[in-house]
């Protein structure tokens, strides 16, 4: 029997961690992810799990210790946000190129500066090319479900890559919502035991990891790593299917909400998608054919699949909760824009930056975006570059 509960996003992910009972967790406090190491420490203090927690002195050491632990053969996780992820930057690449299936619970928060603690995707988007799988949650339920699925994806032999399970800071991490949890045994059996093929503490075989490699080998290593990311797409779908059989909850690379016959589509990531759905429901009642494509998996990037799903749209708004200072819009706009072009989609496209540093995104904001989409569908996009929504101007 599924367990009906009410909890925050952080509580939900901590609950998944408790059910998985990983071997090692190094972590360092940073708002808004701090609760995760706190919850885990409490579970340990009360004998509910026997994970080894390492209270490291920084996030750089957090990821470094995670690399050491994972290479040694331990199922390993950490959690962080914002500057913490930035401080890990260098070693994020090492974890991925070492092919270590570490899980990272990322609670999205904007990078400094100015210093701010609220939701933005600039932290994970900055790390989008570090070789980590990235899966985003819209709400607490998805944050929980994604974490339950994380190790199955990362540890798959065709993948062996680290995975970032992301949720929106405060909006998701701290807001209490209804949630349906799975029984401990179900989760335990679903995740299974970690049995690495090669690891430092294997009594029968040594392992040397993290070599210096000259140009004659590096490019081949990177090509192989890229293949693992390509392979991840199918593995994510396979794991989602198995998860659906267990939980009844269906996941894909992205979610289509009333998209099938939509003339006007919004493409977005994370909690704002819930708000967009409300706007769509209102507009549909008025006969406006509004729809949503919610990106769940950003790495590997399902460009072709998303472009196909958007094939019949007349106008699309691609929304970034992240300023990339390219003077050309955010990263989702850039990558999806390229995919639409390659797929010969004919829609007009608005590139939008919204919700920076926790700025609210309202139903009315989305209604206005759909209005604008109807306009550009007829009159074309007049501006070069991109536009801001929700900024005073």
């Amino acid at each position: 029997m599924a367990i009906k509960e009410r909890m925050s996003g952080n509580e939900a992910v901590a609950y998944a961690i408790k059910q998985i009972n990983p071997d090692v967790m190094p972590a360092f406090p940073i708002t808004p992810s701090t609760e995760l190491p706190q919850f885990v420490s409490n579970y340990i203090a009360n004998g509910e799990i026997d994970t080894e927690f390492i209270p490291v002195e920084s996030e750089h050491s957090s990821m470094s210790a995670a690399i050491g632990a994972s290479a040694a053969g331990a199922r390993t996780l950490t959690a962080t946000s914002s500057c913490g992820l930035a401080y890990m930057w260098e070693v994020l690449y090492v974890a991925a190129s070492d092919r270590l299936p570490i899980a990272l619970a990322l609670v999205n928060r904007g990078l400094t500066g100015p210093l701010n603690i609220n939701c933005e995707h600039s932290d994970s988007m900055g790390a989008r090319d570090s070789g980590w799988i990235q899966i985003y949650a819209e709400n607490n339920q998805e944050a929980y479900d994604n974490f339950v699925m994380a190790y199955r994806i990362a540890e798959h032999k065709d993948v062996m890559l680290p995975i970032m399970a992301c949720m929106d800071g405060f909006i998701t991490s701290h807001a209490v919502e209804n949630i349906t949890l799975l029984e401990d045994d179900l989760v335990k059996n679903f995740v299974g035991e970690y049995k690495p093929e090669h690891y430092l503490l294997n009594k029968d075989e040594v392992m040397a990891i993290g070599p210096y490699a000259v140009s004659n080998y590096c490019m081949e290593a990177k090509r192989a790593q890229a293949q693992a990311m390509m392979n991840a797409k199918q593995v994510i779908l396979d794991v989602a299917k198995e998860f659906e059989e267990m939980s009844g909850r269906k996941y894909g690379l992205f979610e289509e909400y009333r998209l099938e016959d939509a003339d006007y589509a919004v493409v977005a990531i994370g909690s704002a998608c819930g708000t967009a759905k409300d706007a769509i429901d209102k507009l549909r009642e008025k006969g406006v054919k509004a729809g949503l494509l919610k990106v769940r998996v950003f790495r590997p990037f399902p460009g072709k699949e998303m472009a196909d799903a958007l094939a019949n749209c007349k106008a699309i708004a691609i929304m970034d909760r992240c300023e990339s200072y390219s003077a050309n819009g955010g990263p989702l706009s850039a990558e999806l824009g390229a995919a639409l072009f390659k797929n010969k989609n004919q829609a007009e496209v608005l590139n939008i930056v919204y919700g920076l540093s926790g700025r609210d995104m309202t139903v009315e904001d989305f209604e206005k975006i759909y209005e604008d989409l109807a306009d550009v569908a007829v009159n074309g996009v007049k501006e070069e570059g991109y536009r801001y929504v929700g900024v005073r101007e």
Binding site: D50, I54, V56, S64, G68, S70, A72, L200, Y212
Partner: protein
């Protein structure tokens, strides 16, 4: 702790844990340090060897050639402490869950750049948290891998590529950081300083103590770099002896808070004897620079006296 008698011949006959074929320079002191530290692991025990980025790493695990007989991990320059702490914690976790029965030791190596400077925070954290591991600094007093840039371990007045001696410069203006004291201040069970003296008993005994003391231990090993210090490799043993006989590099240890000097020269030699053998100090022997040597001597004396006070306290 298991303390075995020092049996020099038996130790030399032990299987090597650092295989030849690594690409360290001919005459590298760092390699002597690594080889001999690893020899102190009791035969039969397993180990995980860690490493900060540096000469040692790029030369001893150059894909696909691996020089280690034990498992080995390198991840970056500044995180040798944290990386091995992670591996050590994994050992604890897997042991607890009955997945590992063998006895493993955890030893990580960093140069002085990776230890005194960029890796200090990660080292400090690992020591403070009490991981059962040894951090070994092979201290050659500069960033040798990138081409002899000064570090906080570089001695005063040394000519390096970022503190070149010139008409307006006498080399590095600052004195060396006293890292062993910094590590001792972590109140860890064992901290020691050594180099290559005689039959390397001092290095062996300290390595064995460090490895078999429960909890964190730190070793600082002076490992001369013939290229960076500019001396003939054949003089390796002589240079080390002079470093100790001048009290530039005292042999001492801090065991559970107790400071012990392991060797006091009967006749402390003047620092010139150590300096004049090395090209990096050549400018100190130019006419008119006599006071620089006096200052160098004063610094050596000050530290030696300070150490004696700590050891007698």
């Amino acid at each position: 702790m298991m303390e075995n008698k020092f049996n020099f011949k038996e130790i030399q006959e032990r299987p090597e844990r650092l295989a030849p074929g690594h690409r360290m320079c001919a005459g590298c002191g760092g390699t002597i340090a690594v080889r001999n530290v690893l020899k102190a692991i009791h035969p039969g025990d397993k180990a995980v060897v860690g490493n900060a980025t540096g000469c040692l790493e790029v030369s001893s695990f150059t894909y696909p050639y691996n020089s280690y007989e034990d498992s080995y991990i390198h991840s970056a320059f500044e995180n040798a402490g944290a990386t091995l702490a992670g591996a050590e914690t994994a050992y604890k976790a897997l042991q607890k869950r009955g997945k590992i029965k063998e006895n493993y030791k955890f030893i990580t190596f960093g140069g002085d750049g990776g230890t005194y400077d960029i890796g200090l925070q990660s080292l400090s954290g690992a020591m403070e948290r009490g991981h059962d591991m040894v951090y070994v600094c092979y201290d050659n007093g500069a960033y040798m891998n990138t081409g002899i840039q000064r570090s906080s371990a570089t001695p005063m007045y040394a000519d390096t590529t970022t503190t070149p001696a010139g008409t307006q410069s006498n080399g590095k203006p600052q004195v060396r950081k006293d890292l062993v004291a910094v590590m001792a201040a972590h109140n860890i069970p064992y901290t020691a300083q050594t180099t290559f003296i005689g039959n390397l008993k001092d290095l062996y005994v300290k390595s064995e103590k460090a490895i078999y003391t429960e909890g964190p231990a730190f070793l600082n090993i002076m490992a001369p770099c013939p290229r960076g210090w500019r001396f003939e490799a054949a003089d390796m043993a002589e240079i080390c002896k002079l470093a100790v006989e001048t009290c530039y590099w005292p042999l001492f240890e801090v065991e559970n808070g107790k400071w012990i000097i392991n060797y006091e020269p009967k006749n402390k030699l003047p620092i010139e004897d150590f300096l004049k053998k090395q090209g990096r100090f050549k400018h100190l022997f130019k006419k008119g620079n006599e006071d620089l040597i006096v200052q160098f001597q004063e610094e050596v004396d000050r530290r030696w006296e300070e150490l004696k006070v700590k050891a007698n306290a």
